[in-house]
Symmetry: C2
Subunit: 356 residues, 2 copies
């Protein structure tokens, strides 16, 4: 089940990781089926290499649940809807449950209306955006996902007050024979989860990820709280982060701007997190097979394009995480020794079996 | 009506500019009402400072129309639809007409379904993205607009073959007392229209806009064809340009990748341009006044945020173009002397009155 990998990490298989997470969440009060669903999605995050958003978050989730900051028995419900939209109130439940419900509703509505937008409020951190953008693809649908991040690390362009988060955008676009095109990007140069993962691994950040309050490059991730993230494309990324926040947060009545709760420092206040999924049914536009074939051709044209000197391969969005998913399925998921130790301490405190 | 401004440009009022454009388009065969509608939108582009997408394009449009590359009497029609979506076939008509029709349909559908996506195919270049993202705001609706650019200037990340365009994203989000939040961004560091405008004004480009085929910075806009644009945020902007192209182009059966016609070098081949508008009806989500008040608060928090040393003001997306619109309404729109000369030559060749 577990083996030692290079770089001081331990290889753990996805099912074992999922069982461990489920056990922990059940122990702190989630119903077994909810615990299993959250655990499955968290382990999926690690299994695709989204290591800033998977099991690394478990200690924090548990701490927040024990502090009463998350409702373990939420009444997740639709509060308003039309043919092509709904708003889901998550009743402060685990974000993974709230967003999964939103995606299910959006898929059902898109099957009739052709397109549907379902947003959440009173939700919580839900892991990597691509998890949810991927879900509609099984139904020959496109998923587009927007979320408000759970801590503000981005000032407006030219400013110092961190009023914005990394507000990610994700897209899942089905292909035919090729892997789907799966984009998952923070509107900042780096997501804060990546900063935390760097710190956990004891690595430095490249210049360009963060600056300090004097505008100087900040490269030590353990000093992350002394500075702020930089948006992609300067003022453009700032504008994009703002628009994503308005769509994923403000539109649904979820937190945005000064209302955003820093869930890294506050385990109690409900975060009122907002997310939104747009689902587009390919069948409404024509024969999905034709669409998917055109995506294949485009993917192959891109992969086969002439390369800049020194570039070995041109990657499509999602191709590397897809490759990692296949690799990790064979070898197990590398989890850093530091994190394993932390998870085993958590296990001890919850009186459950150690991870490895 | 016209005065000489500094920087060797001429000030022309919006109505005069619009009349000139309409006259030219009517002369080359557009029905009067279509010519007036396109002209109004083109002049609006200049009136908000989108000088790469307004009257600067008129000589090219006229050349293409005279060459038979645009259908001046198109049968613009819905080819497929559901409650929350439609595909509009533009029959190779002027893009401004095709996209305006798409927006009207999306607004009508969103009023019932809550949200609607309307895409185009067999459309053409339609000017700045923000024109269309703004339209739903009059109905207390949000507009999100995506388009495939009309010439490929962006290679995939690491590549040299220009398979992608600047594929812009625009958003129009209503506020209450404040100006609306209007984002209009190419997924490249600079839009190609801005490169063309730099060339027309005889200015150099900053480093970071383009590189040549050896990967070196390219700063002379008259040499633009020797290099290619850079995406925002490196691989992220590449992914975003790809996703926008799949949504605005491939989804509707419009051109994408190698199918994109370079309309700067080919006046004849139908471009099969694709665009898409997503309209979200605020009324479906709750009281629009509450939403707009929350946008106001956010805008004021952002504007009032502590600033980095040396920064005089924090701008909201769309605030500067809004300011320009007000300024130009008072003073007239500055049009470069070079462009005025070109437009007057066009007038001569079409036997219509000179612009100034």
């Amino acid at each position: 089940m577990t083996t030692t990998a290079k770089n001081d990490s331990v290889l753990i298989d996805e099912a074992a990781l999922s069982r461990f997470i489920a056990l922990a969440l059940e122990k702190v009060g989630l119903p077994a089926s909810d615990a299993a669903q959250v655990a499955r999605l968290m382990a999926q995050a690690d299994a695709q290499g989204s290591d800033g958003h998977g099991v690394i978050r478990l200690p924090q989730y548990v701490r927040r649940i024990l502090a009463g900051g998350i409702n373990v028995r939420p009444n997740i419900r639709v509060v308003t809807e039309r043919a092509a939209m709904a708003v889901v109130d998550g009743d402060n439940g685990m974000g993974h449950l709230v967003v999964s419900r939103a995606v299910d509703i959006a898929i059902a509505k898109a099957a009739t209306a052709g397109v549907a937008w379902v947003g959440t409020r009173a939700s919580n951190h839900a892991g990597p955006a691509s998890l949810y953008a991927r879900m509609p693809m099984d139904h020959d649908m496109i998923g587009l996902y927007f979320a408000v991040g759970n801590a503000n690390h981005l000032p407006p362009w030219g400013g110092m007050e961190m009023l914005l988060s990394t507000n990610p955008i994700a897209a899942g676009i089905p292909a035919g024979e090729e892997s789907p095109v799966v984009l998952d990007m923070a509107t900042t140069v780096a997501a804060y989860g990546k900063v935390k993962a760097k710190a956990k691994r004891g690595e430095m950040m490249p210049e360009g990820w963060m600056i300090d309050r004097q505008g100087r490059p900040l490269t030590d991730p353990t000093r992350a709280e002394e500075g702020f993230l930089l948006p992609i494309g300067g003022h453009k990324g700032y504008g994009l982060a703002l628009v994503v926040g308005l769509l994923a947060g403000t539109l649904q009545g979820a937190a945005m701007g000064r209302e955003v709760v820093d869930f890294n420092h506050d385990d109690v206040t409900p975060t009122n997190t907002g997310q939104a999924i747009l689902v587009i049914d390919l069948k409404a536009f024509g024969d999905p097979a034709i669409f998917k074939h055109r995506v294949d051709v485009l993917v192959q044209d891109i992969r086969g394009a002439e390369r800049l000197p020194g570039v070995e391969r041109i990657w499509l969005p999602g191709e590397q995480s897809g490759q990692r998913r296949r690799d990790y399925a064979a070898t197990g998921i590398p989890v850093s020794a530091v994190l394993v130790r932390e998870l085993n301490e958590l296990a001890l405190s919850l009186s459950i079996a150690r991870l490895s």
